[in-house]
Symmetry: C2
Subunit: 153 residues, 2 copies
Amino acid sequence: MKTESQFCGPADLSVGQVAARSGVAVSTLHFYETKGLIASRRSPGNQRRYSRDVLRRIAIIKVAQRIGIPLSEIRAALDRLPNGCVPTAKDWAELSAAWKDDLDRRIETLTRLRDHLSDCIGCGCLSIDACRLRNPGDEQGSQGPGPRFLEAN
Amino acid sequence: MKTESQFCGPADLSVGQVAARSGVAVSTLHFYETKGLIASRRSPGNQRRYSRDVLRRIAIIKVAQRIGIPLSEIRAALDRLPNGCVPTAKDWAELSAAWKDDLDRRIETLTRLRDHLSDCIGCGCLSIDACRLRNPGDEQGSQGPGPRFLEAN
DNA sequence: ATAAAACCTCAAGTTTACTTGAGGTCAAGA
DNA sequence: TCTTGACCTCAAGTAAACTTGAGGTTTTAT
């Protein structure tokens, strides 16, 4: 409140300010920086200074995370943006369109799973080789972290 | 193939056999056992012996995982079953009904997110405080592992 | 009787996405 | 000036769900 530049210009933001405005912890901002998701300049005293674009970038990151995109992919997507580190509305349009497809696929997968589940409720058919629920086929359903078990058939 | 008991009775299974039939790795079976998800008897030589029910139990675990239920909850659900360690068709009906609700909720959340995303594609509205995408509200979207950031507003 | 395949235990490693802590620096108000 | 509060850098911890490895025992097939 006190250090905000009087005229509402593009004054740089400190980590604390970015944290407050974006809703992510300071430690997370540090972390994102090490992961190459955001960047910062330094003040004479070696403190991080962000331009306001970082807020938009973080917004994009958070949306992507809610969709279920891992940080590595988010980073890759942001890296592919032609406009350096300032995502434009057009960039956002492209990203969000791609991610929407991703989301569509996830929703479809889960919906299919749900339908099978409905079919199987109460039927007791959960046999190892017969039930469709047991044999994923196209439905991947991998969204945890860590090494995933590769279904080997 | 060779050691299967001749008459197709309820002969106990070794870890390797369970692994082969269920599609999960031996190490995973060990792991599930330490987590209390499955149980085993021991042979005179201290090797694990499973009754066939374990296959059904594993089937249930895998379905639940695909739905997105964490192992801890799966364990809790299985523990709550009245019938000891052999889930009956009725048990399965109850579990799957509960999990279907869970799945329904997840699908709804993602669908809502997708709709917002569609609204926002190209509009460039991704401003920190205005956009609905940025302000989760009811949509939790937490499905990663590890400590989650608690949205503090 | 043996050799090879399958098991056993326990400790430690892996990935993702962060957080916590220690030990020290910078900036701003009283 | 001095005392906070905000920052900085590393290193290490956390949680989930497993995997890998070392060192040793059982089974099983020959």
